[in-house]
Subunit: 199 residues, 2 copies
């Protein structure tokens, strides 16, 4: 594809570093910005530059922040007695929707020895230090319900045994608004085992 403008071609190429953006979308984005959103494009350039330079991982929870210790960790209104361990910053957003208002620890991944990702790569040493500092009353292991997520949770359970802090996992069950017909057998078995008396 030749665009007859080397700079335009470079812009299209650069846009492809965004996830889910192929050559056609990148071209559409470039034309859209040039035709109708010059100010938006300038603003995006500025924000990208600042964010790439200034945003780093919080020294405590490993969440993204432009401060050394993020606003969430320093917020006195958060419940410091409960710590939720998640795999990604997007999971923090998801957990916030539940009304959870404790602290977080972001692993930025899960244990995967085959890919060379061990305990130090996901910051488990930092997690230990964090636990010593805040000594919470409960750790919620909200890693994904996958083989790797479960293994990571299991590893953290072992790791935190000396601290004698109870660890919990999110419940499995039938999703709200879902249809039982389409729920997989494994999930349904969990839902059955965890059934509750209602009357």
């Amino acid at each position: 594809m030749s665009l007859f403008s080397p700079l335009l071609e470079q812009l299209v190429h650069a846009l492809r570093c965004l996830p889910g953006v192929g050559p056609k979308s990148a071209q559409r984005m470039a034309f859209h910005l040039l035709a109708r959103e010059r100010d938006g494009g300038r603003y995006l350039a500025n924000m990208l530059q600042q964010a790439m330079e200034l945003i780093h991982r919080c020294k405590q929870c490993q969440g993204f922040s432009e401060k050394k210790i993020c606003d969430l960790c320093t917020n006195p209104r958060r419940d410091h007695a409960i710590l939720c361990v998640v795999e990604s910053p997007a999971d923090v957003m998801a957990m916030e929707q539940t009304g959870y208002r404790g602290l977080y620890f972001v692993l930025h991944g899960h244990l995967s020895p085959i890919d060379g990702i061990g305990p130090s790569e996901i910051g488990l040493e930092k997690l230990k230090k964090f636990l010593q500092e805040i000594s919470p009353k409960e750790i919620v292991l909200a890693t994904n319900p996958t083989v790797e997520g479960d293994a990571t949770a299991q590893y953290i359970v072992q790791l935190t045994k000396p601290f004698q802090i109870p660890c919990s996992r999110l419940a499995h069950g039938v999703p709200i608004g879902g249809e039982i017909e389409f729920v997989d057998g494994n999930t349904l078995a969990h839902a059955f085992a965890g059934r509750e008396i209602v009357s």
Copy 2:
């Protein structure tokens, strides 16, 4: 949605100026860049900044270029005897795939009096000047096969009458690889009317 990092929040907001990017995709893009593509993010910021400042419309064909007259217009290997009028820069890319190697004129829209888009908004004065300069042997009106596109083509036919240059429109017909069953009646009627003797 609170991200606990004002800068991250601003980045997510800025990414939403891209077409087809909603709040969830913008968040995913921001996290992806911060976690795995810092260099890509910096490159994109740089390219965006340069493109927004330097890319303008070519004085001749109105296509996007960082030069006053774009590479396409100045390329001596392009056929100056044929001019293709298109609605958008993306249409130039599409026409290039056909093997067409003449010149272009990009309208950046179509006539739409109800939206206040008249002949001067789509640069028809420039088109006249361009025609006087290059005096092509044919004008291909490759505007979209819509009511507005057809009206725009018709307007250009009237406009170019004094130049006595033959104007053509792209043929309508059955798309290659399509199934006749699913072709709409109007298109099929055009295809039937334009049928060719093959033996």
